[in-house]
Subunit: 202 residues, 2 copies
Amino acid sequence: MEEDNLKNLIKRLSKLPGLGPRSAQRAALFLIKNKEKDMLPLSKALYDVAHYYKPCVQCNNLTESDKCSICDDPRRHQNRLCVVEDISDLWAIERSGVFQGKYFVLGGNLNIMDGRGPSELGIDKLVKYVSLMCDTHTSNEIILATSATVEGQTTAHYIAERLQEFSIIISRLAHGVPVGGELNYLDDGTLALAMKARTPVG
Amino acid sequence: MEEDNLKNLIKRLSKLPGLGPRSAQRAALFLIKNKEKDMLPLSKALYDVAHYYKPCVQCNNLTESDKCSICDDPRRHQNRLCVVEDISDLWAIERSGVFQGKYFVLGGNLNIMDGRGPSELGIDKLVKYVSLMCDTHTSNEIILATSATVEGQTTAHYIAERLQEFSIIISRLAHGVPVGGELNYLDDGTLALAMKARTPVG
């Protein structure tokens, strides 16, 4: 039916998260119909990002230079560091606009089954980063914003232990009822934590 | 947050049907993590298909040569032509394996509002194709497999009228209850057509 190059394109598109074989066909046809406007620019964009992006030497965020724009920004708080698992988590926090400090991207969480130990996550690099922070700034705070999963919490725990030698505040994101969330759809664990961490009104 | 090239890639990915802004971010990160294995090959596949694929001179199917593999296949019935709106319809019929003739891809349906008239769909080309078929083969049949929408049926009607000068059988796909379909979820139109076209049992 489809010939080889086209089959190859559809197979490659169908590997993208969010696209299955059928929607990959649809995407391929959409692109073929818009060759100049969409297909060739997408090919170039993929090539450019693949060639020019690398991890930031300081925080592992993606960047085209050595340091990412967040690490390079002197207006951001130099004494607050938010540790996240993935770049998408960094993007989510940036979207919320609630954090004005620096980041450190682990690139995953501790998971011995999947072969991700402390060295794979570059936790030594994080420790060095924090050590440098303590040398140059005062009242430092590390926010452990790993996932609220078993692996994420294990990772946070491990990092907290490794950072005990420094006189810094170590915090983690609060657990509780999500805004707009209905109680009867909430899992028991979250409800229990929200109840425990209840705050006085008024 | 993301820098320019990366923003551009995410924007381009989010234009694909089936991907939104959030899943485009996820897809971009997936690709960046698999640069050599997925990102560069996808870039190349897009480039190759954009450069080497063009419409088949005979049926408008996609091909790397002048004629597509279906038009070029001497084992397929030369006297049966299935007219479809889009290449994805051709793929769907090929997947079913139920048709062994040739195709003609219109590239859409008649829709004056969207500026698609008979010349945009290349109906003159279709008429010439059918004329050539009548000259070289006997007992020709044209199957109008356009969509069961108002536009699709208008298109089928128009084509049937244009082909009346030829002594050919013109047929269209049967309407009815889809296999596995439950009656109470079926729309009234389909149900009425299925009732009208009922077939004797045994």
